[in-house]
Every structure is written in structure tokens, then in C-alpha cells.
């Protein structure tokens, strides 16, 4: 009786999965929560889908998880913003055809009265050093995201190891939640500009940008295809169509024309074809 029901269950699940294979062509793109939450995909994907008939399913997770999902062959394309990690994974043979697509930038935000006196500084590592010396709380993503790895490389440049310090709060959460916590704690944090712009008004964050424009705060987005030699089931042809479209003048224009609800331009296309 029980064997029969288990058999039945497996059969049903199998049928469900088989039927989904015969549906329209879909590729799976592992990307980051911040990219999805910005609304960029809602703007550009319909254009691509209309042109090619390929439906792009976006799974939005942290950068670390997105790359891992790609490595395991659970996605066809990975679209993230952690260039060092991406290049390393390409070198290891997990991905092929990596391209720069666009960038936005990181900003350091903190309480409006700027208790650590960061305003006026030009360099992000200097700002971090000043925050560390002041002992004012700093909230870290602590989740191996692209933003977190950028933060860690900045701490590296200062020579300060913030781990375990009383003022250093590792929250292990997404950007929005991290900003919310920083706001409550009157703390500083590093954020991508897109999430900051999207959140500061609707949530009435009592925070301000204390440092921006340092070239090290450049946040490069890249796209790459999962190596078809490692995973035979990958829809490589369709994945490459997506990548080639993203870096084509049409795709770049679509990215450049994307604006948030307030009319801010969030991403600057910079693919070099």
C-alpha cells in the first residue's frame, strides 16, 4: 500500500517535470537580490523575451550563492557583481564567456550628523579607518555577497581587522535589512547606490551619504555562461543568446534607459564589444 503510493508520487512528480520540459524555451539565470529588487529585470527581460521567445527565469540569491548555483549546474547563466570571484570561477573552468555588462557604485552611508567625521574625505579606506577609530557602530552584510566582499577588500586596504570588534556588527542579511539595522543603530554601512536610493525615501531612513565617488567603490556587474563541458544539460545556445544580447547595443540601451520610480538612473552600461 505504501510502496504503491510512493510509486504513484514519484510518477506524478516525474510527469510534472516532463511536461515542463515541453513548454517554451526557458533559461535560468542566477542573479543577486539587489539586482532583482532594483526592478532592472522587469525592465529588460520582456524586451529580450519578445525578441527571441526565450523566457529568462531569474533566481535571486546572494552573489556567493548565485555563483555556487551556477557551479553546480543549477542555472544556465550567472549575472552578478563580484568581478574577482567571477574571474576566479572562470579560471577554475566553471564558467565561460564572461563579460562586463554595466556598473553602479557603492556609497558609504551613516547618521546625518556624521559622528565619525567622515564627510570631506576622498578615499573610502580612509573613511573606514576613521569609523574604526571613532568606535561608532558599523553594520556589515556579513553574507559573502558582492557588497560584503567589496567591504572586506576595503578593510583589507586599511590594515584593520574589524572581526569581533565591539563596534562591528555582522548581520548576515540582505542589503535592505542591513540598511534598516544601520538606521536603527545610528551606524555606518556600505551600500550599493540602487538599494540606497530605492529605500531611503520609502522607509524614511534617517541617514545620509557620507562618502561617494571614490573609484574603488565602482561596482562592476558581469554575466557569464555555465561551462557546457561540465554540465551537458545546460542550455548553452540560449544562454549565449542572452549574454550576446545583454552586451549588444540594444541590450546596453535597454539597461541605460532603466530608471527607478523616482527617475534615478541606476546602472551605467559599459560592455566593451
Amino acid at each position: 500500500m505504501k510502496n504503491k503510493s510512493i510509486f504513484l508520487l514519484t510518477a506524478i512528480l516525474f510527469l510534472m517535470s516532463v511536461t515542463s520540459l515541453f513548454a517554451e524555451t526557458r533559461i535560468r539565470c542566477a542573479s543577486t537580490t539587489s539586482t532583482q529588487n532594483s526592478g532592472l529585470f522587469d525592465h529588460i527581460l520582456p524586451i529580450f523575451e519578445k525578441k527571441t521567445g526565450i523566457k529568462v527565469d531569474v533566481v535571486a540569491v546572494g552573489t556567493g550563492a548565485a555563483i555556487e548555483i551556477g557551479k553546480r549546474g543549477d542555472a544556465d547563466v550567472v549575472f552578478v557583481h563580484a568581478k574577482d570571484q567571477e574571474l576566479k570561477a572562470v579560471e577554475e573552468g566553471y564558467f565561460v564567456n564572461r563579460h562586463d555588462v554595466m556598473y553602479n557604485d557603492f556609497v558609504i552611508v551613516g547618521p546625518p550628523d556624521d559622528p565619525a567625521k567622515v564627510k570631506g574625505l576622498k578615499s573610502a579606506p580612509d573613511a573606514f579607518r576613521k569609523i574604526a577609530e571613532s568606535g561608532i557602530p558599523f553594520v556589515s552584510r556579513g553574507d559573502k555577497s558582492g557588497t560584503h566582499s567589496k567591504e572586506m577588500s576595503l578593510w583589507n586596504q586599511t590594515g584593520i581587522d574589524p572581526a569581533g570588534k565591539e563596534w562591528y556588527l555582522e548581520v548576515g542579511q540582505g542589503m535592505a535589512k542591513t540598511l534598516r539595522i544601520a538606521n536603527e543603530k545610528r551606524a555606518y554601512t556600505l551600500t550599493d547606490r540602487g538599494t540606497w536610493l530605492a529605500l531611503k525615501d520609502i522607509e524614511k531612513l534617517d541617514m545620509t551619504i557620507v562618502l561617494e565617488g571614490d573609484p574603488v567603490l565602482f561596482n562592476q556587474y558581469g554575466v557569464m555562461a555555465v561551462n557546457p563541458e561540465r554540465h551537458q544539460h545546460i542550455k548553452f545556445k540560449e544562454a549565449m543568446m542572452f549574454i550576446n544580447w545583454l552586451i549588444s547595443s540594444e541590450g546596453q540601451q535597454a539597461i541605460g534607459s532603466f530608471k527607478d520610480a523616482k527617475g534615478n538612473r541606476l546602472f551605467v552600461p559599459d560592455a566593451s564589444e
Partner: protein, 235 residues
């Protein structure tokens, strides 16, 4: 406070907008959680009855395991299932990851211990005299089981209702194995989590209210069935 009122207002507006996307999300929620609950009930009821009525070596251990699994953290189930369904995992060839089917499997795992354990309690609670009586009247073990389960139907329905509550409210597991893909694996709870992340608190709250409303309607229906069962016994 304003946010709360705005949330309620938005919830009403949402429902009466008859938005196609929203109804798609609601329908998928019901489809996934409903399938999971049906499978969990189908497997959990016989299992719970077996544990409740039969004595076998290790029975106490099985009961303790069931009770422990009632508190399975959904994220852990999600991660475990992800590793199994992943292309590199043992069941990777099925290609189930990031499909509604994977979500059904996850929620079945979460609901099964609840249905089985509570069904076991309900069956144990039935007066032993009933068992004795039907056995003396010459009933086969199978029909004794059926008689006891009929007697325990109020408790058994409670078990199913508890399982329903678990799957409808769950977000951790289906987020990992479903991926919250728009128009494909996005359900009520994952939408609420995502909108909260985006800072759309009112919309998230409104969706939460809609979800609760749907659960209330279904529970009202189940309660009517449950009550009818008890009246039937009295008559």
C-alpha cells in the same frame, strides 16, 4: 500605525483589483500547499494510525523522531532538498530544482510529521474499549483500525488542519527549492518576503492579510466538516 492602516486598505484594493498576477500567485500557493497536504495526509494518516495502534520494537523512538520532526526548520529542509535535487546531487537528473514540484516535495516533508504525529495522538486517545469491543465482535485488524480512526476523526481532522497551517505559512524551504521565480514558482509567502526586502511594507502586509483571509475561509470550511463529524457521532 499609518503603515498598518495603509496595509489593510491596500489589501482590500488588491483583492478587488482582480489582478491577474496576484491571482496566479494565490492559485500557485493553493496548488503547491494543497498537493503537499494531500500527499502528507495520504502517507501520514496510515503511518500515524500504525504507530498509534501497533506495538513494534522501536515504537517509542519512532514517536520521538516524529515529534522532533514536527519542529523541522524549513530552511534546513530546503537546503537538504536543494543538495539532493541539485544537478550535482543524487536526484539531479530529474531536473526538479526550481519547479513547483520541488516545492511540493519540500512542503510534504514539513507537513508529514505533523499529520502523522497528531493522527497518532488522536488514535491513541480513542477509548480502548472500542478496540476491544470490535475485536470481540470478530473484526479483522484492518476493520478495527478503520473503526478506531472513525472514532478519532475529530482529532485526525485537527491533524490535517495543523498540517495545512504549516505549509501555507512556510517560506524558508520553498524559497530555496522554488527560487521565487516570477510567474513560475512565486507564491504568497515568497512574494511577501521579497516585498519586505524591497521595503514595500504596505504591499507585503496587504499580501499577508490576503493570505490570512484565504486560510480563514479554508479553515471555516474544514471546521464545518469537523463539526458535522462530531454531531454524527452523537446521533
Amino acid at each position: 500605525m499609518d503603515s498598518l492602516i495603509e496595509g489593510f486598505r491596500k489589501a482590500l484594493a488588491l483583492i478587488f483589483s482582480f489582478d491577474e498576477k496576484l491571482f496566479g500567485i494565490i492559485f500557485l500557493s493553493l496548488r503547491v500547499s494543497g498537493s503537499a497536504l494531500m500527499i502528507a495526509t495520504f502517507l501520514g494518516l496510515p503511518f500515524g494510525a500504525l504507530v498509534g495502534l501497533r506495538n513494534f520494537p522501536g515504537r517509542n523512538f519512532v514517536i520521538s523522531v516524529l515529534n522532533t520532526f514536527m519542529g523541522l526548520p524549513p530552511v534546513v529542509v530546503g537546503l537538504f532538498l536543494y543538495l539532493i535535487l541539485s544537478r550535482n546531487g543524487p536526484l539531479g537528473v530529474l531536473g526538479l530544482l526550481y519547479t513547483p514540484s520541488a516545492m511540493v516535495v519540500a512542503q510534504t516533508i514539513l507537513a508529514f510529521p505533523i499529520v502523522a504525529s497528531l493522527c497518532h495522538s488522536a488514535v491513541v486517545d480513542v477509548d480502548p474499549i472500542i478496540r476491544l469491543a470490535s475485536r470481540t465482535l470478530g473484526a479483522t485488524p484492518f476493520s478495527v483500525t478503520i473503526t478506531v480512526m472513525k472514532e478519532a476523526r475529530y482529532g485526525i481532522l485537527s491533524a490535517i488542519i495543523a498540517g495545512f497551517g504549516r505549509v501555507m505559512a512556510e517560506v524558508g524551504a520553498i524559497l530555496i527549492v522554488g527560487g521565487n521565480i516570477a510567474g513560475y514558482t512565486r507564491v504568497m509567502t515568497t512574494t511577501i518576503a521579497m516585498e519586505t526586502d524591497k521595503g514595500n511594507f504596505e504591499l507585503a502586509l496587504a499580501l499577508g492579510i490576503v493570505l490570512l483571509g484565504i486560510s480563514l475561509i479554508i479553515n471555516l470550511g474544514l471546521h464545518v466538516v469537523q463539526k458535522r463529524g462530531v454531531v454524527g457521532v452523537a446521533a
